[in-house]
Each structure stands twice: as C-alpha cells, then as structure tokens.
C-alpha cells in the first residue's frame, strides 16, 4: 500500500498535551504561543518501503506519524493510502498498525490477550471463531518468538520482549501500513540492535509498508530504505542512507548525520588563515568562510604538509574498536576537533596525550553556497 501526503500541516494551539514533559523550547514557536509543528509537507511512500523519520527532538516526527495514523488531525492537506483518500477516515478504519514508543501494552491482559485484542474487538459478525483467533495469535507469537510467553503479563517481560508483543499486536489485524514511534527508543543498545535486525527481516518477509520514527541516526540509516530527515517541522531531505551520507542536501543534514569539525577563517588567494593555521582551499572566493569536515577526513602527521599547516595537540585518546579516536585542541580552534585514525597510524605516530601533531584535511565541505560543495582531494601527495 503506497502512502501519499500532500500539503499536510499542523499547528498546535496554546493548550493541550504540551504542558507536561514537552518543553516549550520546541522550535516553530509562533508569537501567539501557538506551535507550528508541521509546515506543509509532501511525502510519497512506495508500496512495501521501510521509511525512517529522523530528526532532532521537537522536529515534528511524532506529529507526522500520528497524522498518518489518524490519531491526530492535520490542519490541511490530504492523505491517500493507495488510491483511497483517508484524510477524514477515523483511525479505526484506516487499517494501520501502530507501535508505541513505550509499548502501551494492556497491563492487565496476558500477552495472548494483548495480541488477540484487535481480533476479539471486532464486531461479532466479522469476528473469527475463538479457535481461529487462537491459531492466529499463536502464529504471531511464534513469529515474534514469544510462543512460550503467551500467559505472562507485560510487567513480567523485558523491554525488548514487550516491544515484540506490541508489534505482534499491531500485526494481528494484517494492517496495510505499519507505523512505529521510536520503537526501540527505550531499550538498551544490545537489545536495540537485535530488534532492529529482526524488524528488518520481518519487514522483508511480510511486505507491508512501514514508517518509523527515530532520533538515532545509526538506526535510521541501518534500517530504512529511505530516510526522511526533518527539522523544525520541515522535511530537509528524503533519500537513501547512502545518498544522505554522501550528498547531504544542506548543512543541517550534514551536521545531524555524524560528528563534524568546524574550521573558520579568512580566505585570501585560495588560502584559509586562522591564527597560525593555514590550509589551501582551491576555488573558494575570498572572505570569511566556514568549512566543515568529518573526523575520518582528518589525517595526522608529525610535520605539516605542503597544503596545510594546522598544528594541534592531543588531549584525549580512546583506542577502542577498529579505529582510535583522538581529541585535538589548538589555539586557533574554538571547539576541539575529533579525529579517527587507524591503529596503524596511531602506533606509527606513538600518539599520547599532550603530543603535538599536524592535521591534514582530506576533504572539506561548504554549505554557504546554494548547493553544498566538497573540496577534495586536498590530500598532499
């Protein structure tokens, strides 16, 4: 089932659930105390796609998801599921499955009853026989690998297990569309990774269209066919994970998707100067400019290269994993830089805290032009 949103927007009034837990620091505040949660948004989701909604807190992800679900009413715009317009269709009749961040399991029902709820709540004329329900529920529980837990109560399950029950419950009615609001947000790293993997398998197996909210970049990139990056109630970019990382549409996306180091200075004759630091930046006009680079786009050496003279000193070393993370400071730097280098380089340079080195950017990014630009390779020889 494809999903098509056009010109969906939403503004919250002064009151409402906003008072509790939701800081009023959110963006999109209008002067009159109303919150513009969504600017008019267009979105096309193909049948069977797994789409991640990614963005910082308050960017409108949940609002968008709830509007698609029908749990919230948009102020304007239309929603189509396939050819059917559902803009004014009640949640109950949208044929969606919804997975809540904190599971929202029915506390007083057993796992079995939770999963069976949607089936038993059907009008008597359409309701399957109790035998059929039993079979279907057990099938679903098997699918989420919880067949042995049917008689337990939610409180007797771990977070990951609860989330799986929640999924099974949402799938019981064979929805056309599955919507998930930060499904793994409350779980710890290990369980999270496991469930993520499992959700992807499930999605591939059952072929529904899914839309999930997350604020974890890694999760979005790992799971989604395409990612919708949002900020301030606007869609910043919609693209596959790979494109997103390699061709960010703007500075926000670039910064949001990973660690970023900043380099600001005055450019004259294609050379950027900042205190006693200098680096060649071919093709950049004169003036004050800000350039960005990722941690792995920094190489370290014990002497300056021909194109860059960026003296730094090491303030921290974390030798974990395939790479070593190094924190760098310098007079000419506002905030410290983060560099990731290979263990080989780490050993070669005998890096310790306090060591003085020279940084050499292998790539630099600009976002002050209409289209983002990458200056590369600046690598020296």
């Amino acid at each position: 089932m494809s999903i098509r949103l056009s010109q969906i927007d939403k503004t919250y009034g002064n009151k409402g659930r906003g008072s509790k837990g939701r800081g009023s620091k959110g963006h999109g505040h209008k002067d009159d105390g109303r919150t513009r949660a969504l600017e008019p948004i267009d979105l096309d989701i193909h049948d069977g796609e797994l789409i991640g909604l990614l963005g910082p807190s308050g960017s409108g992800k949940t609002t968008l998801l709830r509007i698609v679900a029908g749990l919230e009413q948009a102020d304007g715009g239309t929603i189509h599921f396939g050819e059917r317009e559902v803009t004014h269709v009640h949640v109950r009749d949208r044929r969606i499955g919804f997975v809540f961040q904190h599971y929202a399991l029915f506390r007083h029902m057993s796992v079995f009853d939770n999963v069976a709820f949607g089936l038993t709540a059907m009008p008597r004329s359409q309701r399957p026989s109790s035998g059929e329900i039993r079979t279907r529920v057990m099938q679903l529980l098997e699918m989420v690998r919880l067949q042995d837990f049917a008689e337990r109560f939610p409180a007797q399950l771990s977070g990951g297990q609860q989330q799986r029950v929640s999924l099974a419950r949402a799938l019981a009615l064979k929805p056309d569309v599955l919507l998930l609001d930060e499904p793994f947000g409350a779980l710890d790293a290990k369980v999270r990774q496991e469930l993520r993997r499992w959700l992807r398998h499930l999605h591939e197996e059952l072929h529904f269209t899914s839309l999930f909210v997350t604020h974890d970049q890694e999760e979005a990139l790992e799971l989604s066919d395409r990612v919708v990056v949002m900020s301030n109630g606007r869609v910043e970019q919609i693209a596959t994970p790979d494109t997103l990382y390699r061709q960010p549409a703007n500075r926000f996306v670039f910064e949001f998707l990973g660690d970023v180091n900043r380099l600001e200075g005055d450019i004259e004759d294609e050379v950027l100067t900042c205190g006693n630091a200098r680096v060649a930046v071919p093709g950049v006009e004169d003036g004050r400019r800000e350039l960005l680079l990722r941690p792995h786009e920094i190489r370290l050496d014990d002497q300056p290269g021909p194109r860059a003279h960026l003296p730094v000193s090491v303030t921290a070393v974390v030798p974990v994993g395939a790479e070593v993370r190094i924190e760098l400071e310098a007079d000419w730097l506002g905030e410290p830089w983060l560099a990731t280098i290979s263990h080989a380089d780490f050993e070669r340079l005998a890096i310790t805290r306090g060591k003085r080195l020279y940084a050499q950017p292998s790539r630099l990014h600009r976002f002050d032009t209409p289209r983002p630009q990458t200056l590369a390779p600046l690598s020296i020889s």
């Binding site: 009151k15 409402g16 659930r17 679900a69 749990l71 949640v91 109950r92 009749d93 969606i96 499955g97 919804f98 809540f100 904190h102 929202a104 399991l105 029915f106 506390r107 007083h108 029902m109 709820f117 949607g118 709540a121 059907m122 109560f153 409180a155 007797q156 419950r169 949402a170 019981a172 009615l173």
Partner: protein
Amino acid sequence: MIRIGDAPSVRRLLIGIALTLTALLLLLPLVAIFAQALMSGIDVYWQNLSDTYTLAAIGLTLLVAVITVPVNLIFGVFLAWLVTRFAFPGRRLLQTLIDIPFAVSPVVAGLVYLLLYGRNGWLGGWLDAHDIQIMFAWPGIVLVTVFVTCPFVARELIPLMQAQGSREEEAAVTLGASGWTIFRRVTLPNIRHALLYGVILTNARAVGEFGAVSVVAGAIRGQTNTLPLQVEQLYQDYNTVGAFTSASLLALLALLTLAAKAALEWRAARRETAT
C-alpha cells in the same frame, strides 16, 4: 541504606508520639462507642438493634446508599473520562466545580436544597402543585447525599487517569475497538482499584451524612430518619445506650470500610511486588 531520621532514638521518639496520639485521638473514641453500646449488656444491645424504628432507619440508610453510590459512580467516571481524555476550554473550571461540596458546610448544603425544592422554593411550588414530595421524604435525602458525596469518585479517578495517560486507549483505537469496548476492556481494568476505593468512600459518607440530611429530612420516625439522625434522636431521648447502639452499627460499617480499603491496598501492593 542510610536516611534522615534513622537514628534509633529519633525513631523511637517519633513512633512513640505517633502511637500515643493515634490511640488517644482515634482508637479511644472507637472503643468508647462500643463500650457505651454494650454498657447494659448484649441483650439490651440486641433489643435496641431490633427496635422497629432503628430497623427502619437502617433500611432508609441502605436505600440512600444504594441510590447515591451508583449515581455518583456513573457521574464520577464520565467526569474523569472527560477531563483526563480531552482538552477543551473550561476543563479547569469543571475540575474546580466538583470540589464545591468540600467547601460547602453541610448545613448550607441542606439549606440550598431546601430553598430550591421546598414548598416556597423555586421549583417547590410547581412540585407541590403536582403533588410531588421531594423534601422531607427520601428523594430529598438522596439528593443532598448525592450532592455531598459527588466529588469522591471523580477525585480518586482523575489523578490516576491523568498519570496513566491515554496511550492504552489510543492503542485500542488503532486496533479498531469501539468506545464501549475500550472502556470495558482497557480503561476499567486499569482504574478498578481507584474506582472501588472511590465507591467505598462515597458509601461511607453517604451512610454517615448528618448535617445536610438533618435539614431536609423532617425527622419523621420510621420514615425519614437515617441512621445518623436516629443516633441523634435516641441521644436526645436520653437513650444513650440506644444511641450508641446505632452509632456502633455505623462505626462497624466504618471499620468494614477501612478493612475493605486496607485489603484492596494490600492486594494492589502484592500484585506490584509479584511482577
């Protein structure tokens, strides 16, 4: 774990004071009621209890409770659902309004009803013309009791339902459940303890209301005397033992109420630790 006030001397002192005051202030009156009731022996107690007027008072009191409790139960649930599940202008005001009976002296509560439904009251003339007797009959007693006890259920439910939020109900809606199904199968099980507690409080107060009822009851023996009124009248009749006999019934009811409440809490606590 070490916490403030853990020193044994402090602990003993505070517990000591607390127990002494509780005994003096709460336990002793309770004991006194039964002591006075049984002063002249169990036979007299029994005799007093089976007095026709006392029996009639028990009957009327039960009738009042049987009507008041469901009425307030239904109202309380609707109100709690309304103010915790929807945002609408005036929600705060509504929530404050239900506290009015707490602020109104029972005598005043009786008075306002009398002013409204009494023969000279706004509606009284019409009622009188149609020969409908509300004041000085059981409907009046029920009305003021409903007034006095109406905040209890709602006040128990609102904080709980607010804390629980509407996530489970929303989940049920996405699963296609209708309103009644949601309430019956999702909301009700979650609030049933608070609901029961609210009912217990309502019942206790309904059974025990004196001030408001005394204004509208008309004190007709065997007809409009509730148990608390009966207690007062027997007392005025120099029938101290009789008065305390009826009082002991009410006290017994109070004790049952407390026991029921304690049992509920205990069960809830056990469930919590079990999981």
